[in-house]
């Protein structure tokens, strides 16, 4: 009897402890919105600048640049003016990650959907997709750079 109990305890001890593996996936959590009506909080200056940089350059902004742009944004009373200048500078910078005009026009519906997800974290409604698709098709001068500038300057982009 005594040996039986010891044997059972030994078996339990052997199988009860198992090394726990922690898997860390290098993916940031992102909210994908069903619609823009869920967005009711304004991005802070730091959030706006950081997200803008990530959206345009597909990499993280340095702390120094983030702090400098936050100061610059604070130094201009009309934030629309400050944002416009920052966005203008970024979309015309050398390192910005923009699709080419040819890429955009090769598959316009795909470009439209990717742009909405990139900036708004949601898919366009059929109405939105149709409008932007037709604008691109009908205006050879409408480039990805100008479309990105419009999205980044829009009101929805200032909320989350």
């Amino acid at each position: 009897m005594k040996y039986s109990i010891l044997t059972i305890l030994g078996i339990l001890l052997f199988f009860s402890c198992k090394k726990e593996y922690r898997y860390i996936y290098d993916v940031e959590n992102e909210v994908v919105y069903e619609s823009n009506s869920e967005k009711n909080k304004q991005k802070s200056s730091a959030q706006f600048i950081s997200i803008l940089y990530s959206n345009l350059f597909q990499t993280s902004i340095s702390l120094q640049e983030s702090n400098q742009l936050s100061e610059l944004r604070m130094a201009v009373g009309d934030k629309q003016v400050a944002d416009n200048l920052i966005i203008n500078n970024y979309v015309n910078s050398a390192g910005v990650n923009l699709p080419t005009d040819a890429d955009m026009r090769a598959d316009i519906p795909k470009f439209v959907e990717k742009t909405y997800i990139r900036f708004y974290l949601r898919k366009p409604t059929p109405y939105e997709a149709k409008f932007l698709k037709e604008e691109i098709e009908n205006d050879p001068g409408l480039t990805p750079k100008l479309i990105y500038a419009a999205f980044a300057e829009s009101n929805e982009y200032k909320f989350y």
Binding site: N36, A75, V76, G77, I86, Y90, E128, E135, S154
Partner: protein, 443 residues
């Protein structure tokens, strides 16, 4: 008293109150609504905490134990001989032939009568015309309306935000002074705000790739943006802060790019001797940019501050140097105003420190053996001055008002004074302002 008599008397008193114009203690009446003295006002908050001893009393270092040299270190603003010995600052040759004191009225003893003598309190008092009795929440806009909001709401017709500007030497809480949290006013009536030192320094790199889009491209961006905005239920009015019309915003954006470009190419006129950038201080950068705003937009209401003199907490000699440099900047700005065909002879400048400093110094001694001075609310830190300068025939020239035994004017009087100059004082509802316009300054 019978009920009927009471009602009758009350009615008569009320009728008389409505019919009779408000008579000031000076015996003069407010100007009729809409009647302006000039069309442009520049209010320089000559801030950082300045004692009357070093300014209008012209004591230089003689107020300190063991020093005897006195004299005027504000030769562009005040009359009087400059100090000649025991110099602890580098004198700059005045830019004005005749000091501003001769071009207007100096209120030599003005009082900051109530509340803490803190910098933000002092700024708030000067810009709202209301004393603040307690410490302020530095992260929020003032409780009571600012002069900008009174101006934009009560002018007829209402004025664009391009006509009202607030430029500060520093950031922090001063960014919130362009509009109040008052429910009847607020950002809709606020002023445009800039902190030029940040815009010019950081803008050199932050805007160096920005381009001037062709009109066709601007139209394309706006068309897409308008579509996107029409599909979102919030507007820029839901965002905190001042906002301009689309057209005004374009003008401001272009102005910022142009000013940064001028600064980067050495084209920006500087308020320093010989236009030397090595002499620039934070105060002088603010004044240089102020002139750019004035020259470009010809605003009707401009408020700027200087602040570098606050180094007096640690270094009295540097305090005097900063005061001397700021005086040069004010003279330079006045010269610029007089060189402009729109602003010349149609601008009144008001200068006033936000508060003073203590009578007794602290224990920090600088390299010249001079002791630093704080501002903790003693009677001396409530002594300030105010100067109203403008065209002859409108502003009384070369006049000094008030004395230690007979102070005239308070820190809360500048807001009603500006409202009086621009003709909207009668339109401000009763109960908002406790001060009175400094009418002695006007012809």
């Amino acid at each position: 008293m019978k009920r009927r008599d009471f009602i009758k008397n009350t009615g008569l008193i009320a009728t008389a109150s409505i019919a009779a114009p408000y008579i000031l203690p000076t015996g003069r009446l407010f100007a009729a609504s809409g009647t302006r003295i000039v069309n442009h006002v520049v209010f320089v908050l000559f801030a950082g905490g300045l004692r009357n001893q070093e300014t209008v009393d012209k004591l230089y270092v003689s107020a300190q134990s063991g020093f005897s040299s006195s004299g005027n270190i504000m030769p562009n603003m005040l009359t009087g001989a400059t100090p000649t010995n025991q110099l602890v600052h580098t004198p700059w040759t005045p830019i004005l032939t005749n000091p501003l004191q001769q071009k207007g009225t100096l209120f030599k003893e003005v009082r900051y009568a109530q509340g803490p003598t803190g910098h933000y309190n002092g700024h708030t008092v000067a810009i709202t015309g209301r004393y603040t009795e307690t410490g302020l929440n530095l992260n929020t806009n003032p409780e009571f309306p600012t002069i900008f909001e009174y101006y934009r709401k009560h002018n007829s017709p209402g004025e664009s935000a391009l006509n009202a500007w607030w430029l500060s030497e520093g950031l922090g809480p001063y960014t919130t002074l362009n509009y109040s949290a008052h429910p009847s006013y607020g950002p809709t009536y606020g002023a445009n705000y800039l902190r030029p030192a940040s815009v010019l320094e950081l803008g050199l790199t932050a805007f160096n790739q920005a381009v001037n889009y062709q009109p066709d491209d601007v139209a394309r961006i706006n068309k897409i943006k308008n579509f996107l905005n029409n599909n979102f239920d919030k507007t820029i009015a839901d965002l905190p802060g001042i906002f301009n019309t689309d057209g005004d915003r374009d003008l401001i954006r272009q102005f910022i790019l142009d000013t940064v470009d001028k600064a980067s190419t050495g084209q920006l006129p500087l308020p320093t001797p010989g236009n030397n950038p090595n002499f620039l201080t934070g105060d002088l950068i603010n004044i240089a940019a102020s002139w750019q705003v004035m020259e470009t937009f010809k605003p009707e209401l401009m408020v700027i501050n200087t602040f570098n003199s606050d180094i007096c907490h640690q270094n009295y000699s540097s305090h005097l140097g900063a005061l001397h440099a700021a005086d040069y900047g004010i003279g330079w700005l006045w010269n610029k105003i007089q060189s402009d065909p729109v602003l010349a002879n149609d601008t009144i400048m008001i200068c006033m420190p936000e508060h003073g400093r203590n009578l007794q110094p602290n224990n920090i001694v600088d390299n010249n053996g001079l002791r630093a001075i704080d501002h903790t609310g003693d009677d001396n830190s409530r002594r300030i001055f105010a100067m109203v300068v403008g065209p002859s025939g409108k502003v009384v020239q070369n006049q000094t008002v008030g004395s230690v035994s007979n102070p005239v004017g308070q820190a809360i009087d500048v807001v009603p004074t500006i409202a009086h100059i621009l003709g909207f004082l009668p339109d401000i509802p009763g109960g908002y302002l406790n001060g009175s316009p400094l009418l002695q300054a006007f012809v």
